[in-house]
Symmetry: C2
Subunit: 796 residues, 2 copies
Amino acid sequence: MAMFTVALAALAIPSVLGQLTGRGFPDCVNGPLSNNTVCDTSKDPLTRATALIAAFTLEEKFNNTGSTSPGVPRLGLPAYTWWQEGLHGVASSPGVNFSTPGTDFSYATSFPQPILMGAAFDDDLITQVATVISTEARAFNNFGRAGLDFWTPNINPFKDPRWGRGQETPGEDPFHLSSYVAALIDGLQGQEKYKRVVATCKHFVAYDMESWNGNFRYQWDARVSQQDLVEYYMPPFRSCARDANVGAFMCSYNALNGVPTCADPWLLQTILREHWNWTSEQQWVTSDCDAVQNIFLPHGYNTTRERAAAQALIAGTDINCGQYYQELLPRAYAQGLFNQSVLDQALVRQYSSLVRLGYFDGTSVPYRNLTFNDVSTPQSQQLAYKAAVEGITLLKNDGLLPLRISNGTNIALIGGWANATTQMQGNYAGVAPYLHSPYYAAKQTGANVDLQVVPGGQGDPTTNSWLPAFAAANKSDVIIYIDGIDNSVESEGMDRYNLGWTGAQLDMIGQLANYGKPMVVVQMGAGQLDSSPILNNPNISALLWAGYPGQDGGVAIFDILQGKAAPAGRLPTTQYPADYAAMLPATDMSLRPSNKTKSPGRTYQWYDGKAIFGFGYGLHYTTFTASFESQPSSYGSGSANNTFSISDLTTSCSEAYLDRCSFQVMNVDVRNTGNVTSDYVALGFLSGTFGPAPYPKKKLVAYTRLHNITAGSSATASLKLTLGSLARVDTNGNTVLYPGTYTFVVDLEPLATTTFSLTGSPYTLDHWPQRPDAAEQDTDYFIGNYGSTYGQQLVM
Amino acid sequence: MAMFTVALAALAIPSVLGQLTGRGFPDCVNGPLSNNTVCDTSKDPLTRATALIAAFTLEEKFNNTGSTSPGVPRLGLPAYTWWQEGLHGVASSPGVNFSTPGTDFSYATSFPQPILMGAAFDDDLITQVATVISTEARAFNNFGRAGLDFWTPNINPFKDPRWGRGQETPGEDPFHLSSYVAALIDGLQGQEKYKRVVATCKHFVAYDMESWNGNFRYQWDARVSQQDLVEYYMPPFRSCARDANVGAFMCSYNALNGVPTCADPWLLQTILREHWNWTSEQQWVTSDCDAVQNIFLPHGYNTTRERAAAQALIAGTDINCGQYYQELLPRAYAQGLFNQSVLDQALVRQYSSLVRLGYFDGTSVPYRNLTFNDVSTPQSQQLAYKAAVEGITLLKNDGLLPLRISNGTNIALIGGWANATTQMQGNYAGVAPYLHSPYYAAKQTGANVDLQVVPGGQGDPTTNSWLPAFAAANKSDVIIYIDGIDNSVESEGMDRYNLGWTGAQLDMIGQLANYGKPMVVVQMGAGQLDSSPILNNPNISALLWAGYPGQDGGVAIFDILQGKAAPAGRLPTTQYPADYAAMLPATDMSLRPSNKTKSPGRTYQWYDGKAIFGFGYGLHYTTFTASFESQPSSYGSGSANNTFSISDLTTSCSEAYLDRCSFQVMNVDVRNTGNVTSDYVALGFLSGTFGPAPYPKKKLVAYTRLHNITAGSSATASLKLTLGSLARVDTNGNTVLYPGTYTFVVDLEPLATTTFSLTGSPYTLDHWPQRPDAAEQDTDYFIGNYGSTYGQQLVM
């Protein structure tokens, strides 16, 4: 234990913190700021913000480095709270203030969790949803009930079904997430002069674990190869920064290969800002809450609190969620640990962002006329319903579905989710205008509904409440069992250990199936459960997965059950057998199977076992065929039609980033050969033995959702392939185009297949900047990721 | 998946279940039962209960096999709920009904959790506490607010600090638990004609795990050697059954070496009833809730639900907590899986027990005159305070304690427990008459108390609320930090993974210590935390451990801090370094260290590392010396005075169980050589290289607590050794007296030491009945304890 003493009398405590009730706009007309350039709308955001910060005293600068900024009363700069959440609707969070029930701003549209919206594979839908969220956020902001930046999306790939926050993501596939997040940011931020709101891509990077077997997110060190990092963990963030120009990033709790991400200049400067050209001063990085503190403890990455804080600031963490910057930067500055220019840069970034949002521009900002009339409109409510319908995925159907439910049908509605309301929202939710439970929806059908909310096994594992459920089943015409997992099992801070339905649930399901009645199971929750006992039970006719379906979830489920809507969702994650959890620790970040560690591999690309249901699986009420309208062809080259020269491909493209160069647009004719109008998700996968071994089984390179294809008719799915679609990542993290034979297929079966070849020498599309040797960094020591003994080693 | 079909129409659902509001006594004067022998007080309980059950129809028998018995309205036999809890006071549970606040029976005395009462090492105290609980329970019963049997104590040894329910036990040492539990049962049951209440020793056996790394208590198979089983896991239960004659047992969720305990005739018949002579028909075994169901799923120990239920009944599980028996025994009986005599036996045991409790004897039962005036009396309240004071353990003191607190002293009272109320009760609690928090107690001192409830890191890990705490510390005269863990981290269903204080807590503590003010840390919770950073920080003067101190916990803590009471508690568990959690899985049941598994061993007896604080550690405000008033001597033998012949020892004793034979009473003169009146706990440990290697470092064989030894005076501690104290357990589970040299010491330092020898041949005090080969049992298959794939394998 080091004997260091701090001049504690120097600790300034900003007295205005904790009193941040004011959320008004700055007065650029009559206020003290009116003469400051920040109020000059003719100037660019950087110039304006720089002028503002120049007017701050040093103490005022320090005071405004945290997530709750007191502003500068002296200058008429209001307090501002940076921490708003909006994962699937304007959400309860420090900066969002829902009003009391019955009044304006007492609710906002509550969409399904991203995991279910991911299952829709419909980027247009995502943009529409995000546009509603940003519209409602602006309405809240106009009445002092929210800020203008939102700490969403969570775009870490859902690589392990145990992860408690997988529900917040669209799934396990990095291409899917990259495409989804670009569509989302488009809806949140817009493309206008004034950003609608600022989105924040989190958690950068390789976060994806809460608390698993003694590994806590605050202290965990993710060990990731450069190949896995670039191939799997980075793409959604590259999409955010380089392609979608997101306004903000959040660095994560975990360390990456020994360095806490918020203290890592290679991550925050070299990769994020330089390599991905995320250089606008309107963009900032916030720490997760309180990741700057965690650099000191428990990471133990620096010897003093002051050095840890200075290190984060210098690395490029512009905002600290928490009070650590506000408390420690003054002391760190007094110790000469950073220059004022670094502090200024962080503040300029923050306020440039607010300038770009029109914060200083008064009512000339077009969104300023939005009111509560623009919140939870009929269109938005319909969209929330549509998002749920599009995501719900049919996994088994022996022909029972769609169900004929009429007045007088006796439904036994059983299970822990049978009357779910807030349960349907999952985490990071706001207050919904209504929550239509499965029970509510069942009653709308005119059926006689015998509701039996049997806890099932996630909460109460006892049989105390079972007998009435059996009585209900016995007199029913159809049994609908709806359960699975919820936020009591998977949530922030809580990873799972078990991938199976509990014994009590299976016992209940099995006993219900023994009644021989028509029976449907609806599996809820984000992390998949091994549903093979349900799949294999001939007395259970159908199985649906419905994630966390949001405010209209019950209606969406029952509309699909009855055929009022046709299911076309696809699983956005692999459903592994239950024993998968015993095969590899959640801490293992490797994607590829390994003989050494006995890992079976991760995701549909690499898992070498047999999935219960694979990524992309989903049934319909109709049947589809697909055929390519044309084959891949290399016009203008001397080679055969389906052979492409790598040099031709790379030299003919003028994109700044070669992976974005177009390769081919594959138009697929999709025909509905059944009897029911239905959406169809076209998934395009690529496979082949090109590039470095081992090879993934296949990888998703394109998808699109076709809507309402009527029976007997067809529609065209345009699947756009880029050079990045064809590329592989080598062990140094470089993205390379390799010669070889490529097979492109549509759907899982597949419904259509074609091949083409690339010839010539490998060509590097992207040179990955190597990280400086961690040993050369200012690392005092490094704490391992399991069984850390930091308690005894560290200064306190 | 097997294709079996059940004649479901035969499923009888007792309609009276779920309507069990009546808790009255049977009317043996005017009711239909008055002519039944059960009402004949001249007959013995077995005869009376047998007559009652003979009057039941078969359906009525089945109806009364669960924890909520409808009784037999036809016979005037009231409904009865078997499930009452009373771990540390009459507790909220299905059979206990607290009234609305402000009315009679709205509260009951709430004692500290057993882990803190265990730290008192005061068996007389435990009997007094248990007597209050049984008195208050009787008062509740008289007014229809509780039954007469209580599912307490939890007496599994607290072998792993990660166990979420360790708080419910008195600690890690099997001798300590055996002695404690006998004292407890004495207070709960009494020794009179009418039992006060029936106690239930649980969870039989080798339960001690909730949910750890995918191992769930409902399906976990504890693999235990016969040596460890008899030496460590069984002794508290042997004490319950053989020595204290407890009224009931509870079989556990887990399997033991492949067999679910509730389905194990070797455990429930051979060991419990035969070997331990627990043969009274007034004694019964209940399943944990719903351990009978778990035999089928998830244990998968039998092929059908009916066979699993019949198997449990035949094995000796008399009551099923849940509804599984009530639902399935009729079908199992129809299948010929058991005889009615087994069912009758289970029911006779239940009702014999109620006869013994005076349930049928009207107001002639002496406890029937107890009222709410007997609940939470001033004496009981004082006892709850005393129990907390006696358990609180001083771990570090540089002389700061006892604190001088006067009017105007500025106390900064900081931490997640600073204003704890229900938090102080832990789990299985009732409604307390009051909850005197640390903040309440601090204010009683007349000091100026600046309360700062900083979550610290167990809940909210952010620094958002830290600054006011630093401000409070800055202007304080003394800093008292009170935190640790609570039921959000350790509880039923939730084991821990981390044995350290969190990084955020250590950061907060370290920053507070930097102020250079006098500072005390109070560590709360049952599972020990590695407090070495606090021990090693010279700016922190004192450290107390206060467990879950109950209704007057805050006052107890502050009275000790101020010296109004002197600390004399001793740690009832080992405080391991934080990295201990990484050294062995919680599933490892072995006590001894192992090169093969790299286990460092368990408990102070076997752990081969250096503990932060050892079992039995505890400081005082004074100093003590100890000396033996006489040395061990073998009168009447031909050998030297301190040498004993094994054959003499074993032949001179007439006890039915040789391990209970007295060996020596070691009288120890304990002198208070300091300035403060204080209790002193005399701990007697034995060590030596006798019997099978390896040898434990030492083992506790006797203890007693001396009260209020004034400065300069002395008192005598009588430490009673039996032949069982000297014995070891061999690999077959036999308890054997071995020749060799024995060292007996008082206290940890130690304060006094003596040696003696045993000569002659080893002599077996107890022949352990071997379990029939599990392979010969009716086991269809066996599910391993990790990564079970039961979901796919089992019939449903």
